[in-house]
């Protein structure tokens, strides 16, 4: 923390002098629960989201635990079939709508986007707070639906089962997801407008950190996809409540139409979940390789490519549902096409790692885990995009494993990488280096044990969502459940050492990882308006000038990685000049 700010007001100090006031930061500038519930500070709202989604992550994890434990025996080990259906539905709904979708955009995006582009706040601070309240209202409906007996339709809510057969709380669940969707739209809209209009002088589109690019692409999907699921869920709700038939074949309705509308959002939604994770990986891999990112423009535009192509391939969920041969061909082709921008990213990250000075702190371990797991998840996706193999693999555990490799191995790893990377910035504290590395290793090992057996199960034909299975599948199911237990321990560890770091952690410097982004210019934790109001940042350099050793203000980076960043150590300037950059080196941007 800068020593210059810890001074009393000269000339006014009474005798004896008061102790110097604590440096105001966003955490201590006001206090009390009410100051949090009425805050419009994007950083505090990010923390509110962090706390909320952590609760939902744990709840969704408990539901997953019930599913996995029940699958220990071929007849179902602990619960009956109905409860099993409700458990996997609760797991899906909680994890997708109440954890994964808001995870990086609403927590890290909220916290970091204004800081990264050099703004004081998001464009619409009140809308931002409203989005959290809307999220919580939706969550109340969702939790009510689950606690008051649950939903048994699976998270996909396919009619006619969801509209005619199911006796469970479909309507409150639908209302919950509907309302939560609005919070997602609000966050996306806010982030997009902020990126367009609030960038600091010199922060051109070509100097935006790749995390910002990835959230721009994500916000685009949130903005254009979410309203479609909103209207689709409205139709389901109306059909169920009023007893009319929009998707009911008896009245001329078509259940396939629901699937089209549902996947028009819900397929792009998986890109809402994974693209922000990719943004985190771009930041972390670059920082811990001490190299400029390889192929900045390719990585930036591939995010946009995923956002656009991602809207055009929804019907690959319906290959066996009775769509025409030609549309199946087209959607198969388009599904393969989206692998291209994803592969571009992976190649560029690998290019960044190549001959980098890699260090293995926790964020980097999570990021490397992401790379491996995401590649496996992505490649197995191609099996499902291929029409012939999809007929064999459709609705089996192969799909479950593929999906979890991308969503958990990809996005959750990305989320943990980001959380560990920016935790010192958010809280001003360093967490345990040792325990965080152990947790990353346990999560990666547990993950493999959980989901690799599911590929085998699926390949041999075990259908998803079934509570029972033939006895010869038991060994793989037991392996998977054992892996899930390891994974569960891995996920609980950060809850402990991160919480402990708040009380016992070493104080974090402004830039503990020696990273280049504007968010590292501010003290940790940052002041209420992110930057020194008298000296708002002026950007003179590209986002990843690790080779030159300068941040985006053109100042030299501190020793890497360390926990001490006072101006005297920076003046040593082993990598670059202090102060604004000279004109002749500006070409790097």
């Amino acid at each position: 923390m800068s020593t210059a700010t810890v001074q009393g007001t000269p000339g006014l100090s009474p005798v004896p002098p008061e102790p110097p006031p604590a440096t105001p930061n966003y955490l201590n500038n006001s206090s009390g629960i009410w100051s949090w519930l009425t805050t419009v500070d994007h950083k505090r709202i990010g923390i509110l989201y962090l706390i909320s989604i952590t609760v939902f992550f744990l709840a969704g994890g408990v539901a997953a635990g019930i599913v996995r434990l029940n699958l220990l025996s071929p007849e179902g080990a602990i619960v009956n079939e109905d409860t099993y259906n409700r458990s996997f539905t609760a797991h899906g709904v909680l994890m997708l709508f109440f954890f994964l979708i808001p995870s990086i955009p609403a927590v890290l995006g909220n916290f970091l986007i204004p800081m990264m582009i050099g703004a004081k706040d998001l464009a619409f601070p009140k809308l931002n707070l409203a989005s959290w309240y809307v999220f919580m209202i939706g969550a109340v409906f969702g939790v009510w639906a689950i606690l008051a007996g649950g939903i048994d339709t699976g998270w996909t809510l396919y009619p006619p089962y969801s509209t005619r057969a199911s006796q469970t709380n479909v309507v409150p669940g639908v209302i919950g997801v509907f309302i939560t969707g609005f919070s997602s739209i609000m966050t996306g809209l806010n982030i997009m407008v902020t990126i367009h209009k609030m960038r600091a002088p010199g922060m051109t589109w070509g100097r935006l950190p790749l995390f910002v690019w990835s959230l721009y692409a994500t916000s685009l999907i949130q903005l254009l996809g979410t309203p479609v699921i909103a209207i689709t869920l409205t139709l389901i709700g109306v059909e169920r409540v009023a007893g009319v038939g929009i998707f009911d074949p008896e009245l001329g309705g078509d259940p396939l139409l629901f699937q089209h509308l549902f996947w028009f959002y819900s397929h792009p939604a998986v890109y809402i979940m994974i693209v922000p994770g990719m943004g985190v990986i771009s930041e972390v891999v670059t920082c811990f390789s001490r190299k400029n990112i390889f192929g900045y423009h390719a990585v930036a535009w591939s995010s946009m490519g995923i956002a656009v192509v991602g809207f055009l391939l929804w019907a690959h969920h319906m290959f066996v549902a009775g769509i025409s041969y030609y549309s199946a061909l087209l959607f198969s082709f388009l599904s393969m096409l989206v692998a291209v921008p994803s592969a571009i990213k992976v190649f560029n990250w690998t290019g960044t790692l190549y001959r980098g000075s890699i260090t293995f702190q926790a964020p980097m371990l999570f990021a490397l885990g992401f790379l491996v797991l995401f590649v496996i998840g992505g490649l197995t996706g191609l099996f499902l995009a291929t029409l012939g193999t999809d007929i064999h693999l459709h609705d089996t555990y192969f799909v479950v494993a593929h999906f979890h490799f991308v969503m958990v191995g990809g996005m959750v790893m990305g989320y943990f990488a980001g959380l560990h990377f920016w935790w010192p910035k958010m809280t001003g504290r360093m967490y345990s280096d040792w325990w965080s590395r152990v947790a990353a290793a346990i999560i990666i090992v547990g993950f493999f044990f959980t989901f690799v057996p599911q590929f085998i199960l699926g390949y041999h034909g075990m259908p998803r969502r079934y509570p029972n299975y033939p006895a010869e599948f038991q060994v793989y199911n037991v392996m998977s459940t054992a892996g899930a237990s390891i994974l569960g321990i891995g996920y609980l560890l950060p809850a402990f050492y991160l919480t402990l770091s708040l009380f016992f952690g070493e104080k974090a410097s402004a830039n503990p990882w020696s990273a280049t982004g504007l968010e590292w210019v501010s003290p940790s934790p940052p002041p209420p308006f992110n930057f020194d109001e008298e000296h708002m940042p002026v950007v003179v350099a590209g986002p990843y000038e690790y080779a030159l050793g300068i941040d985006q203000l053109g100042r030299g980076l501190p020793e890497s990685p360390g926990t001490v960043d006072d101006p005297s150590s920076r003046a040593g300037g082993h990598t670059g000049p202090a102060g604004p950059m000279q004109k002749e080196t500006e070409v790097v941007g």
Binding site: A119, L189, H196, L223, I231, E250, G252, D254, F264
Partner: protein, 229 residues
């Protein structure tokens, strides 16, 4: 007028405008899902949809169309008044817009009431369940059976009729609320000329709701306008 986190008014207004345009994009996608679903069934079941459409009240819909289009004009005049600092003109045009939009909703209410009496409803029991006084020859259910149409598909049209006009009506009500809020803001002197973009943002929303009606009109009311009972 300038909020703390913006550099200047230009940036603030540009952000507000962009935000509103993006919100309109979500609205287009929201109604787009409905239009898409409607279009599928319209294409598959032309006879039933045209037949059912002929029972909608074209007169009220026509008057309502005129009301909404006129309200878009007065809304635009309100922006001009705000920009010129013409407070009385701003009041006048906002209240006129409110009156026209309110008129739309009142007529809509009469239209729904009439549909209700004539049994123009999609439910299994309510379909064709007209009040005793209504001429049996004008009963939507009897007519469909006589013409050999599938009543399920006729009811499907009515589902869309109520959902689409209903959701549109909710949007009008929200718009009316925003206009009332603008009137209050004008009264509190919170809309000086340099802050006219507030009026502009509400007007953008109002125009979109108006434009959606211009699509609903042919889809729901004109589809069967050539059929006479």
């Amino acid at each position: 007028v300038l909020k703390h986190h913006f550099e200047d008014l230009h940036q603030q207004h540009a952000s507000e405008r962009l935000g509103m345009w993006m919100f309109l994009a979500t609205e287009v996608l929201f109604f787009g899902g409905l239009f898409g679903a409607y279009s599928c069934y319209r294409l598959w079941y032309p006879a039933e949809f045209e037949y059912a459409s002929s029972f909608t009240n074209l007169k009220i819909a026509g008057v309502n169309t005129v009301l909404l289009i006129t309200s878009s004009l007065t809304m635009t005049l309100a922006i001009r008044a705000a920009k010129l600092g013409d407070k009385s003109g701003l009041y006048r045009n906002l209240l006129l817009t409110f009156a026209l939009g309110g008129g739309f909703m009142v007529l809509k209410g009469f239209e729904y009431a009439e549909d209700f009496h004539e049994g123009i409803l999609p439910g299994a029991a309510s379909f064709g369940n007209a009040d005793p006084g209504v001429d049996a020859h004008h009963n939507i259910k009897n007519g469909a059976v006589e013409a050999g149409l599938d009543t399920g598909k006729v009811r499907l049209f009515l589902c869309f009729y109520y959902i689409m006009t209903g959701i549109h009506g909710i949007h009008i009500l929200v718009g009316l609320g925003c206009i009332l809020w603008l009137v209050q803001q004008t009264y509190a002197n919170k809309i000086p000329p340099e802050n006219y973009s507030t009026v502009e943002c509400v007007s953008l929303y109002w125009h979109l709701v108006d434009a959606i009606w211009l699509f609903l009109m042919p889809l729901l009311y004109l589809a069967g306008a050539h059929i006479h009972h």
